[in-house]
Symmetry: C2
Subunit: 341 residues, 2 copies
């Protein structure tokens, strides 16, 4: 049984789970598949994953059968469970909650392609459509305060990772700390200036140009002024918008193009580095308590943060939340702009 | 020229530096030494490091010559510089500061021993004495709001790491985010309960016992209730104390013994894993603004956080500040207690 536990000093929530092989025979099965070079995410291998919760399918094709373009399935060893009742309780001075939530895998293509950067723009747009549909669906559930979508690309030491491009989704009964900090910061800025801090950043970056990686009519990709990682890139919609899932078809096509361009630039410049990205979208405002913050339309601005992780991360960064980046974002943006794609 | 830059949304500070080889020929020199298997931290090789700022030395021995037990030198490619004037300025909507600070290496033994766990308790006590003296000295400098000491032990992919046990010290003109969060959390708890949150945790853990790794008359080692990492361990003084550097000889000896015990238990249980630890001590209260928080004697409780990093860290943790730990701290503490040392 997994629980969400709250650190009594900082208020940081963690999931303490017990994902040992004994409890998840499916993990052993996954390792077996890997040995046999069977990819559970390829078209035709649908029986190796849990039953799909969403798919973009060819007309007439059947659920959990071939004939899909993007497929979403529950994680095989989920850290969170949808079927639980939300229950908060104390253990002496500590606070905990049962681990209610959703943990899903978005399989981004039926073909065995490792990097999202190598998909067609039209296929990336379908991936974004799947993100949108899953967020819309999960935000209907009032138990969930936030939905995060993230991608881990490339090899890391010690991790069993399926090399078929996919993202993960987590819906949580809490607001994760970093989203809370962004919401708080954006709200304070708005209260003071009556302008969105992200909109101000976009305006300023478009005028100084020195940290811009690429733009198109609807989106901007930039190396943030206070980059934590070398070649960190954020993609933001130019027009103010709190929730990613409000994106329409035109915007999704435009975002797919820019996302592909940024990922390709990183791939070429850094020789296919491992990378992570996170889609930061607004909290679930249908939540009965309005989420941790009563977020209004002006208080947040959705965006994607892309972090190449070829540099080492040391204890210092972990322990202090203070980052040392061995280059400047101006230089990083210049490097990325110069890449011929 | 390095700068501290502030993220305009979350207030997170980063150092953006330019530590390329061109600017630091010393880094190439270090690589050459490594190739020749010359360790710059071993006794007799003092000329390979910058001149020492502190050392515990045999009587009659000379500065930067053999005859020391613990030696502290500036980092060869420092991210921060002591000799600068503190200057804050704006760049349009952004805030930056020149990178005033100290970045030092504490060489923990004259002999070529890779792991602090393998030193004698009396030698570890000398290391703690060096920590104390450097913190006391640097906190006299009113430009510095905080001093952090951290250790990265063991190999990480892509990092040039000298395998002679050492720690690093960073003195900063800001309060790092994680210390600020702890100070804020501890202060809020005190304002509400009129008790120190760390003291309450210690009392409760001593009574329930299930997350305790080891104790001695002065210190407690425990797996925290909301552990971020499997086998994460905190060491805290049982008696309330804000500043590590107030430690006396008896306490330092007691801490050295418990630190060695915990590191040995981790080494045996996890087969000499890479690990990080951070010493969290109170902010510099001689700072003219009293640091970011006017910390009073009751508002903080120094401690050491030890994080074995044999598990993978994914984009999700980075991006959300929400951690998934694949075991429980109760089980982790039990594993560590069972180790025969």
């Amino acid at each position: 049984m997994s629980f969400l536990r709250r650190d009594p000093i900082t208020g940081r929530w963690v999931i303490n789970t017990d994902r040992t092989r004994d409890k998840y025979p499916s993990l052993i099965e996954m390792e077996e598949l890997t040995k046999k070079e069977i990819c559970p995410f390829c078209e035709g291998n649908e029986t190796y994953t849990p039953s799909e919760v969403f798919a973009l399918r060819n007309e007439g094709s059947e659920k959990d059968k071939p004939g899909w373009q993007v497929r979403v399935v529950p994680n095989i060893s989920p850290a969170l469970r949808v079927e639980l009742e939300l229950e908060r309780r104390a253990e002496l001075m500590y606070d905990l909650m049962n681990a209610v939530g959703a943990h899903e895998i978005i399989i981004e293509t039926p073909e065995h392609v490792p990097n999202l950067a190598d998909l067609e723009i039209s296929q990336i747009q379908k991936v974004l459509e799947a993100y949108k549909q899953r967020i819309l669906d999960l935000k209907k559930d009032k138990r969930f305060r936030s939905v995060a979508i993230f991608k881990n690309h490339g090899e890391r030491v010690g991790s069993l990772r399926i090399k078929h491009t996919h993202s993960q989704l987590i819906a949580l009964s809490i607001t994760p700390k970093s989203l809370k900090e962004e919401l708080k910061g954006a709200k304070e800025y708005f209260d003071y200036k009556e302008r969105c801090v992200y909109c101000d950043i976009i305006r300023q970056e478009l005028s100084t140009k020195k940290r811009i990686v690429a733009t198109n009519p609807h989106f901007i990709a930039l190396c943030p002024f206070a980059s934590r990682f070398t070649h960190e890139v954020w993609i933001l919609p130019k027009k103010h918008s709190v929730d990613f899932e409000q994106i329409d078809e035109e915007l999704a096509g435009s975002l797919a193009g820019l996302l592909k361009e940024v990922l390709l630039r990183l791939k070429i410049l850094l020789d296919d580095p491992p990378y992570n990205y996170i889609l930061h979208t607004g909290p679930n405002r249908t939540h009965r308590r309005g989420g941790a913050w009563k977020t209004l339309d002006e208080d947040y601005h959705w965006h994607i943060e892309i972090m190449p992780c070829y540099t080492r991360i040391d204890g210092f960064e972990w322990g202090t939340g203070f980052y040392i980046d061995s280059t400047t974002p101006e230089k990083a943006a210049e490097n990325l702009r110069k890449v011929k794609i």
